[in-house]
Amino acid sequence: MFRYIVRRLLQMILTFFGATFVVFALMFANQDDPVQALAGEKPVSASLREALTERYHLDEGLLSQYWYYMSNLLTGDLGESISGREIGTLLEDSWPVTVRLSLMALVIAAALALGAGVWSAIRRGSVFDNGILAFTLLLLALPIVVLAPVAQWIFGMELGWFPATASRNASFYALLLPALVLATTVVATQLRVTRTSVAENLRADYVRTARAKGLAPRRVIWVHVLRNSLIPLVTLIGVDLGVLMSGALVTEGVFNIPGVGSKLAQGIRTEDGPMVVGFVSVLVIVFLVMNLVVDLLYAALDPRIRYE
């Protein structure tokens, strides 16, 4: 087990460098004129252009820019965004609220998926099962660019149940509506997967045995069946956490949450290479760690799986 974890961590380092280089190269390829992007449509004076170009090495090639970035990174300096803010501070400022938002969304989605998924697996073909099917199809069909503003308009502005926008230090309550909206992006798949997996296991031999030996039906389903049905769901949830963090782009914009998503969008808009790479690097780490955690959880759920 220990050796397995060490091997995975070593692989992560390689993946990390590879990923940052790819992102850096992509940002570099997308870069037309960061100095102008910063100024919008205002003309940039020659003097200012020269000073900024020199400060951020904008006239140099991809490899030398990547070298400047990496040599700073290895000394723990994430560099400066092109608007002059320290990327380290930007990360510190924007991560907590995104983590809160995506964890809330994840807990909401997982709870819904588990409850409704198990229930509709038990009552296959019932009104509830079909209703849930229609509902998940609806959610899958509605893109978040529609859902987020509509939810804000109905529940925030018209009905007034929730605040229309949140902020960095938003309360649990203020984040609830954005978290619900964000949860809809993943809940449908999670729910379908839970239902299928549970339905499959309900027909397994060990379930029949458990029933035959007189175990309470509740125990059969929530302990015996569910535990064996969780592996695909856990895989999904692990990947979803990363998806939620990076996918909060739209939700964060609509609800005015200054998190990772909105900063990433801003970085891409202003062609700010170091800023995008900084944020994406952390996202890469989140994905890698979540994948490791998911793999370790398999062993916890199914004793037959062992890691050497």
Binding site: L48, P149, R227, P258
Partner: protein, 544 residues
Amino acid sequence: MLGKRPWRMAAIAAAISLLVAGCGSGDSEDPTAAGNTVVIGISEPQHLLPTNATDSSSAQVLNSLFYPLVTFDAEKNPVEVAAEKISVAKGNRVWTIKLKPGFTFHNGEPVTAQNYIDAWNYGAYKPNAQGGGYFFDRIAGYADLNPLDPDGDGPEKAAEPTTNKMSGLKKIDDLTFQVTLSAPFASFKSVIAYSVFFPLPKAAFSSDGVIAKGFEENLIGNGPFKMKGSWVHDDKIVVEKYADFKGVVPKVDGVTWKIYGDQMAAYADLVDNNLDVQTTIPTDALANAPADLGERFQKSENSVFEFIGFPTFLPQYKNPNVRKAISMAINREEIASQIFLGSRTAAKSFVSPVVSGYRENSCGEPCEYNPTKARELYQQNGGPKEIKITYNVDGGHKSWVDATCNQIRASLQVNCIGEQEPKFAVMQDKLQKHQDIGLIRLGWIMDYPLMENYLNPLYGTNGGSNYYGWSSAAFDTLVKEGSKAATPEASIKKWQEAEDILAEEMPVIPLRYGQNVYGYSERVTNVEVDLFSRVNLYELETLA
């Protein structure tokens, strides 16, 4: 071992998640203003150091923290505010600025002439890369602080500036300083109203010419409000009344500048009464705004000027009559009311109505919609078979460019297409390389309310925004003569003559003037949004 207690693990994981999600929620401070304070929506300012701040959000915040040397009266004439008297000698070259006594910065430092000189020198010094640095280029000695790279992109590096002090700035006494310009300019007084010309206290500098770390987050100004806490990036900037302020005291006790990444989010808060003023209602909300806000939905004039430029390196648009014909093919009023829902007005002059010297319809017949005459003129002069209008897709221009093209197609009976470029910078780049990108959509926001601020940058041979390369020696001379003229009135006369050349030559097609389309909550009254799209904080009141 792990396998024994999966449920406990899951429970712990869920508990941690909820804990993390919940923590930090203790700070549920309601941003809604309490008492006699207001909440005004802005975007995240790019910078707050006055010499580096050129976007409208930072200008709004700075205007609450600082007191300008001059401001503009109803006729857009500059009047002294923090300055007691601004006088000029030697044929408009040497300006003497005398400050009002008794003013202090928020840290108690008296405001002196040196504070202005230090701030302006910092702004003009090239290695500081200040966004507003170009404002100082009229002052003698600016060139010494900004040596340019002799061969552009070539291998040679620009020389280091030899000094960081402009020779044109001279302190006379504690409250008086002298500004010598490199060339006479009768309207310099209008220029220094801009936020770039605000003073900085001694506390702003850690040593000569170096801004102290963290100053930008904790600005110290000379204005009616002072910072309450630091600038919380992407969240808010809170300012409160400064008790020792000697100028005109605003009626509200404080302002929370709430920062929005998306103006639609701000609009949602405005409708919910969580936000008191939004200076620019987003286009997507314009259709609903009159119903949502009623009387609290308002318009006022601003300096935005939108137009289409003719790249003069393209042979097919060399003939001014072709340019006039295309202009006459466009029905400006229809687009302003149908596409922009009345948030713009039709433009028929080459400068905005907000500057003195503006004449209604100075463009004359070529800006009047007349499809029959347009087609005749176009055919007589052999206009091109196809017209292309290039625009950047990230600016929401598609609908009006398409509408304009439809009108051109109907009037001139030639094909017209809207060509998309991903970004403004790409468009600029293609123009510089003289590629055939057809007509280009452009806009302009003034820096100071003078005709010159439209004429020179947009149509001057060396104008910073003259991307289409139109050049006329007669025009340049008239603009220059206007700047040198003895009085502002004489300047305007020359500038109007220059504008007449534009009407004959039509280097661009004036299309629309912008307007501030703003809204406010039920909590506030007397909301005015000025020509710089800033809320007038001195008039704003709460309904308590």
